[in-house]
Amino acid sequence: MNKATKRFAVWAVFALLTAALAVTAAGCGGGGGDDKSSSESKSNLPSSIGPGEGVLNLVEWPYYSDPGFAKKFEQDSGCKIHRKDAGSSNQMVSLMRAGGGGGGGQWDLVSASGDASLRLIRGGDVKEVNVDLIPSWKNFIPIFKSPAHNTVDDKHYGVSLQWGPNVLLYNTTKVKPGPTEWGALYDANHKGQITIPNNPIQIADAAFYLMHSQPDLGIKDPYELNQKQFDATIALLKEQRKLVKLYWNYDTDGRAAFANGDVSLGAIWPVDTLALQDKKVPVKEVIPADGATGWADSWMLAKKAPHPNCAYLWMKYVTTPKVQAQQALIFGETPVNPKACSFMDDIQSGSCAKYHLNEPLDYYDTIKFWKTPIAECGNGKDDCMDYNAWQKAWTQVTG
């Protein structure tokens, strides 16, 4: 064999290998998504919870199965919890979608926030839950029984768990007088002092601000923006970028920036306020009179959940008043079950009022809960910007 033939042979082998791999890759990708479109019918729902399978695999926000209350569940149900902490909504979605979707046959439940939940429902990663098997569900604050972020076409894909507002946090020694309006985050006087979450859903915060400061734009819901409203919001965010010191990826990063004095006001969560105040950092949180955006988390059942009984037992357990109160105070959030109020006050007096669990129903009108933006605006029109557009615009703002 001469040199030229040899070289040809080497290249032929290489090309064949590459081609074979390409076909395999294409084939693998092609086969994955077929079984997702079949919809669950009511008759497929379990009518009772069977005995636990001994294991429960959770994708969760850190501390969402804190041993403080999860130990008792493990003892009572015999379901040993394996937890995977997620740092962001995007990470939760990718975890649930890995391995062909539906939780990959590995995960049972995911504690999805409203900016992830519709993506999971639409992507066929979660399945319908029979809420009749979760006794506390009947006691939930009405807006959390079938909220738009976990219920589609009257089908529940999860049970609401806890919620919290996105608060305006400021350093009391550096920002005087303390801000009372969201406008502070768009005020050039605070240039280089501001931190904002690095999350496309943050566009809704700017839209929420415009909803009140520029009523002529006609924004009714900060998650349903037509092109004109969206463009105005993005223009505002591009202005805001000049003032922003840090777009935090994890709330602990935002927390560190406050603690190290790098920022003195920003949007963050109540849990971070508590952590900073614990460390004697002089910060104070406000929820402006106009209200705030907020997140509400749901435990959602993976389509391919390998331990559905343990999953139902867990959903049943964590929505009971006492556990709701325990979790709320560990994480710094608000239960969806109002019966948790007295238990909260038992653990920490005054905490029920502090976390707004005793508010009248119209209080919830001021909180706009995260939901994944979609093209259908609910008014029969399809002219809203969807999450793809939000993600793209967010990259343009922050990148």
């Binding site: 990708g29 979605v93 004095g261 793809n388």
Partner: protein, 301 residues
């Protein structure tokens, strides 16, 4: 009798096989390398190929499922939206700045280690150069974040000598410093090995011919060290180019790297767009490696 014949036949076959292999060394070599090469192809090329293929797919806006239709839309978006040009430019620019910084920092130290240090000092310096690699990359980045913070060690030191605060936390300057720090050992080692290989008599010959120190450096040492510098630069450049953790932790507003956008898109999830953008550093590295090969970098590895 038959046993003997069989044994003979077997022996004959073995002999023929070994003769065949001996006559055709390429066959022997390919049989030997087939298995590891196949493994390599599946793991490395397979990943790259499947990445490249999915870059031509799209994601359904409603379900976020991957649609397997071929289109160039992802690449068109990358081309037309100047956001991605800006991010690519920033990524390459900082990678280049880090590479140059590391080369400038590494050369004197490597030169000292290779040519002046006693055996013992050299060993000590090696340990010091490699010591940071014993601790986690994340720990070192977090350490820098506390150093550079407003209430951090840097400003404290500056204030102590009467200088004002340096506001470099959460900026591109912070990224440049942290990257230059974390990848420095990867530059020092190849430069050291290149410098160590320069024979002493070259330098003596240069001196004998009347060249001053600067001329010797320019005409003898630098050309001979260049392959080492280029080899080191492959590490510093490619490691910076592909990073997303440092920008996420010490970068501020407008510090996104290609890796950050890829990570966001994977999480969205929009794998095809992430794949399309991820081909950009692959192309950049291919060009970089082609240039590095020209400069003889692979002889120093």
């Amino acid at each position: 009798m038959t046993e003997l014949a069989e044994a003979g036949a077997l022996r004959g076959a073995r002999l023929r096989l070994s003769t065949a292999l001996w006559q055709r060394p390429w066959l022997k070599l390919s049989l030997l390398l087939a298995l590891p090469a196949a493994g390599f192809a599946v793991v490395y090329l397979g990943a790259l190929v499947s990445l490249f293929i999915s870059a031509f797919w799209e994601v359904d806006a409603f379900t976020a499922e991957v649609i397997h239709t071929w289109s160039l839309d992802n690449f068109r978006t990358l081309w037309e939206d100047h956001t991605y040009w800006r991010i690519t430019g920033r990524t390459i620019g900082i990678a280049a700045a880090v590479t140059i910084t590391d080369a400038l920092l590494a050369f004197p130290l490597a030169y000292f280690m290779a040519r002046f240090a006693s055996r013992r000092t050299r060993a000590a310096l090696f340990v010091l150069v490699l010591l940071p690699l014993w601790s986690s990359y994340l720990v070192r980045i977090y350490a820098w974040r506390t150093i550079l913070a407003k209430n951090g060690a840097l400003n404290w030191a500056l204030n102590a000598i009467g200088l004002p605060d340096a506001n470099i936390a959460y900026t591109n300057w912070a990224m440049w410093i942290v990257f230059s720090y974390v990848w420095l050992p990867f530059m020092i080692l190849p430069v050291y090995s290149a410098l160590e290989r320069i024979p002493d008599n070259y330098l003596e010959a240069s001196q004998d011919l009347g060249a001053k120190g600067s001329r010797t450096l320019r005409s003898i040492i630098l050309p001979l060290a260049l392959p080492g510098i280029v080899a080191g630069s492959i590490f510093t450049f490619s490691l910076t180019l592909g990073d997303f953790i440092t920008p996420a932790l010490v970068g501020g507003a407008g510090s996104s790297f290609i890796g950050n956008v890829v990570e966001e898109q994977v999480g969205q999830p929009n794998i095809p767009f992430a794949a399309a953008f991820a081909t950009v550093p692959v192309v950049v590295m291919a060009i970089y490696l082609a240039i590095a090969r020209r400069l003889g970098a692979f002889e120093a590895l």
